[in-house]
């Protein structure tokens, strides 16, 4: 509830099967959904603890999502970006996750 405390630098993302990923807050903010969750003014549970639980996302998928966050964060201002490796078997699930997280904008 305290508006004055600066938001933590890292946030924790938790998969449905219990894997926890500690992610740079700025990187995770690429998803408008996560941004909304963690907005310090909207006192939801996630914002209070800097911890988002994704009940319906498996650790494998979230792992790839987190990888993407950092991939995006690292290359956001550069050119000649190398391709990110996506395992074929995860494609469908990753698409769904991307849609869920609003990563198409």
């Amino acid at each position: 509830m305290d508006d004055l405390a600066p938001p933590s630098k890292y946030v924790t993302l938790v998969s449905g099967d219990g894997f926890e990923f500690v992610v740079l807050r700025e990187a995770a903010m690429v998803s408008p959904i996560i941004k909304g969750m963690l907005d310090p003014r909207s006192q939801f549970v996630e914002a209070q603890h800097a911890r988002c639980v994704f009940q319906e996302m498996s650790g494998t998928v979230l792992d790839k999502v987190v990888e993407y966050f950092h991939y995006w964060y690292r290359y956001k201002d550069s050119e000649d970006v190398p391709d990110m490796d996506i395992p074929v078997e995860l494609c469908l699930e990753l698409l769904a996750a991307a849609d869920y997280l609003g990563l198409d904008q």
């Binding site: 907005d39 869920y100 609003g102 904008q105």
Partner: protein
């Protein structure tokens, strides 16, 4: 706002595959209800600010599922319904309480009976209530929209008629509060009242009260967040459509009234400061109280009402208007004035016109003061002096010179004043600079002696003024002189005067520094062109060659006869065209043929012959004329011891005497005279054949000037007249060995009326030749030209040198026709044509 809405449209998205969701057994309907109930509970919590136990992810997932099940429309409607209901039950009543009767009355008539503090209190309460409700609503709607983000992504964006859920719910505030009246006794909407209250508060601040700026800011922010319609374009902001126009209209009335009041009750200085303060206030207000985007508009209102409204009335105010500011060097006032006028008028017409007028007025005033001063000084001299005739004849000339210098000094001071003003107050504005230059040129040229006075000023400075000054100071004087010359219109007249003064300076060795002389001339060359300075440069060249000539001649003489060094000759050979005609003895009007010069003493004649011979060996076909008026001679004089006297008079005294050349000629006459004999003025004139004027000057130097009175005069007055008798002053004594007799005509004095007329006549004569040449040149090129075209071309060709008057050009044309350079073709229909005759 918490996050951006809308965003990328529904471009070809890949639909996610229908997921196998849990609790399939419950069926789709049950699943929807479960999800909706969860969301509904959450909405209550959000409104009650108790969402700390809610998980965003769960709520988002619930909305996500609903949308995936194609129930987006139902969700949208349900949320809308919920919010409308909540709004009606919780938000509207809070506002209703605030809309009291007094508030409505107050907003209808700001000057109602209620006291200011009462009004402010009521207004603030109302604004506070509105702000709190708005902030709650805004916060809740943002959070709602956040958790329903997938609704917009998955449903709203696919429906062209739907606007994002946030736009729909936030607009409730506009529809149900701002656009309704909420009070049975009034038909004024809340929005209307809100604006009235805000304007009332702003007016209170303008009158000097303290108001809660943040409160008003919150309300303008609200109006900025709401739009007239759901499509939310920038121009449709309620702030722009409702508040701003009324604010501007209100400001207009306020400032128009204020301007009237200032005009009635205050002076221009107060007005300036007040206006500037007001502008600052409005800028401040746009930054803190209302929205920044209004700044250019409200500034314009202030400019139009407060500055332009009665600009001319304020500028014309007696005792505080622009004229007064200029006269009293009100730098600060003028700076403000410039800043204000520069805002509203690029040309600064009002300021410029008065400024120009004042410059000319002050310029003419200098002239008037000069006339009066002159007069009184001369009178004053007459009173306390009364030293006989000499005082009266010499003083006016000296006074004239002093007047010339005073005039130039005053003009320069005026120029400094306005230059300073231009830099300090007008930020070196180019328009004003040009205007000032024009005005200076105008009044300087209105004064018919300006050319002469400027030249006299330079003359005075070069003779005395620059002594002991640093290079920078001298540079400043040179620069000032050039500035003045630039203003002069009749540059040819100035040229004549300058030539004359320069000639005197050079020949009499009066010039303080040849370097500075050359500096001025090279600056003139830059400004006015080669042609203007050829003569001046020629004069310098003459002096240099003459110095060489003198030394080679000296060598030559020594070679011829090493024993003979009776007279040491120093010659200046002057080229006729470069030097002023007065110096060259060409002043034709002097009746007693000064050209004949004088009868030189035998020794001098011998010398002249020797030099002429030397000079002409190398230069064939030249003619040398000896001019005695400007030279001087060093002579050794021996005064005998006088018996019966004590002190220096008892001894023989030898002096080195420096006298004008003619003085030497006169003195040499007395060599042959026996003691006690005397010569009359006429005797001397007959023997020397000097003109009366030249002789008078020579005798003044050696018989009147107190320190070099080697001739005694009878009667011993201060003036030399025909009929006076002169004798050798045997009892002459002096403390110094070297004595310099004053050169009577060496002072460059202002001309008297006749002299000036002569100069002008001569100048007109020269001008007519120049005009002739210009006309012929033009006609030669054009063959046939109409009268008006010819005149205008002549004017433009000659603009750099002087401004000829049109009648004069006409006379020259007539003259050229008579002399058959031009003719008027007889063809009909072309009465004003001229044709060139080859």
């Amino acid at each position: 706002m918490i996050s951006g809405r809308g965003g990328a449209g529904a471009r070809g998205r890949i639909r996610p595959p229908r997921r196998i969701v849990r609790s399939q057994a419950a069926g789709e309907g049950a699943d929807f209800d479960a999800c909706w109930n969860m969301i509904k509970e959450a909405l209550y919590d959000i409104h009650n600010k108790s969402c700390g136990r809610l998980s965003f992810e769960e709520l988002y997932r619930a909305a996500y599922k609903i949308v995936l099940k194609k129930k987006g429309e139902v969700l949208y409607e349900r949320v809308k319904e919920f919010e409308e209901q909540w709004f009606a039950e919780h938000a509207i009543p809070k506002i209703e309480v605030l809309v009291t009767k007094s508030l409505i009355n107050m907003s209808v008539d700001a000057s109602s009976s209620a006291s200011v503090s009462e009004r402010r209190q009521t207004g603030e309460n109302f604004l506070k209530g509105l702000r709190d409700t708005w902030e709650d609503h805004n916060m809740s709607m943002n959070m709602t929209a956040d958790i329903l983000m997938y609704l917009d992504r998955g449903y709203t964006q696919q429906e062209p008629r739907r606007v994002p859920i946030f736009a729909t719910t936030i607009a409730l505030f506009r529809d149900h509060i701002l656009r309704s009246c909420l009070n049975a006794n009034s038909d004024r909407s809340i929005g209307d009242i809100l604006i009235s209250v805000m304007l009332d508060q702003i007016d209170m601040e303008r009158r000097g009260d303290v108001i809660d700026r943040n409160l008003i800011r919150s309300n303008t922010r609200m109006l900025s967040c709401l739009y007239e319609t759901e499509d939310e374009s920038e121009n449709n902001k309620l702030y722009v459509t409702t508040f701003e126009p009324r604010f501007l209209a209100n400001s207009e009335v306020f400032y128009a009234r204020e301007c009237e009041r200032l005009l009635r009750e205050s002076d221009a200085s107060t007005w300036l400061r007040h206006t500037e303060t007001r502008l600052r206030e409005e800028t401040d207000r746009c930054g803190t109280t209302i929205e920044l985007e209004t700044l250019p508009k409200v500034t314009k209102v202030v400019e139009e009402k407060l500055i332009l409204g009665h600009l001319n009335d304020f500028l014309a105010m007696e005792g505080s208007g622009l004229r007064w500011m200029i006269d009293n060097d009100k730098i600060h006032d003028l700076s403000i004035l410039y800043r204000l006028i520069a805002r509203v008028d690029d040309e600064k017409t009002a300021l410029r016109d008065i400024l120009q007028k004042r410059v000319v007025e002050l310029g003419l005033e200098i002239e008037n003061v000069l006339k009066n001063t002159d007069f009184s000084t001369v009178q004053g001299d007459g009173e306390d002096g009364g030293e006989g005739e000499k005082g009266k004849t010499l003083n006016p000339a000296a006074q004239q010179t002093a007047a010339a210098i005073k005039w130039v000094d005053d003009v320069l001071r005026l120029k400094d004043k306005f230059d300073y003003m231009l830099q300090e107050c007008f930020q070196g504005d180019l328009v004003l600079q040009a205007a000032l230059t024009k005005s200076f040129a105008e009044f300087i040229n209105l004064f018919n002696r300006s050319s002469e006075y400027v030249s006299l000023f330079i003359d005075d400075n070069l003779k005395r003024g620059i002594r002991g000054k640093t290079e920078a100071e001298v540079d400043a004087i040179v620069e000032k002189s050039i500035v003045l010359i630039r203003y002069l219109q009749d540059k040819d007249l100035f040229q004549t005067y300058y030539q004359r003064h320069l000639g005197r300076r050079l020949l009499h060795g009066k010039s303080e520094s040849h370097d500075v002389e050359k500096q001025i001339i090279s600056r003139m060359k830059q400004e006015l062109g080669q042609q203007f300075t050829t003569k001046f440069e020629g004069m310098f060249r003459d002096l240099v060659t003459s110095a060489e000539l003198t030394s080679t001649y000296r060598d030559h003489v020594r070679k011829l006869d090493p024993e003979d060094h009776t007279i040491d000759l120093n010659v200046n050979v002057l080229t006729t065209n470069y030097w002023p005609s007065e110096v060259m003895g060409r002043s034709a009007q002097s009746g007693d043929s000064s050209k004949a010069g004088c009868t030189w003493p035998a020794e001098v004649k011998k010398l002249q012959a020797s030099f002429e011979q030397f000079y002409l060996t190398n230069r064939n076909g030249r003619k040398l004329t000896w001019i005695g008026t400007t030279g001087s001679a060093d002579i050794k004089c021996v005064f005998p011891a006088i018996e019966g006297k004590s002190g220096p008079l008892a001894r023989e005294r030898r002096y080195d005497l420096n006298v004008p050349t003619y003085g030497m000629v006169v003195l040499s006459l007395f060599n042959d005279l026996k003691d006690g004999e005397s010569l009359s003025f006429e005797d001397i004139q007959a023997k020397t054949s000097l003109s009366t004027a030249d002789l008078t000057r020579a005798l003044m130097a050696i018989a009147v000037a107190p320190k070099s009175r080697v001739l005694a005069k009878d009667p011993p007055t201060k003036n030399v007249k025909p009929g006076d008798r002169f004798s050798f002053n045997a009892s002459f004594q002096s403390k110094t060995i070297r004595i310099k007799a004053p050169i009577i005509n060496a002072v460059s004095k202002a001309e008297n009326k006749e002299e000036r007329k002569a100069t002008e006549d001569k100048n007109n004569q020269t001008r007519s030749y120049i005009i002739d040449a210009a006309i012929v040149r033009i006609m030669k090129a054009r063959k046939e030209v109409s009268h008006s075209q010819l005149i205008s071309e002549v004017l433009s060709v000659l603009a750099g040198r002087f401004k000829p008057d049109v009648p004069m050009i006409k006379r020259r044309i007539e003259d050229l026709i008579v002399r058959e350079y031009l003719e008027r073709p007889d063809e009909e229909g072309a009465p004003s044509m001229y044709r060139y005759l080859a």
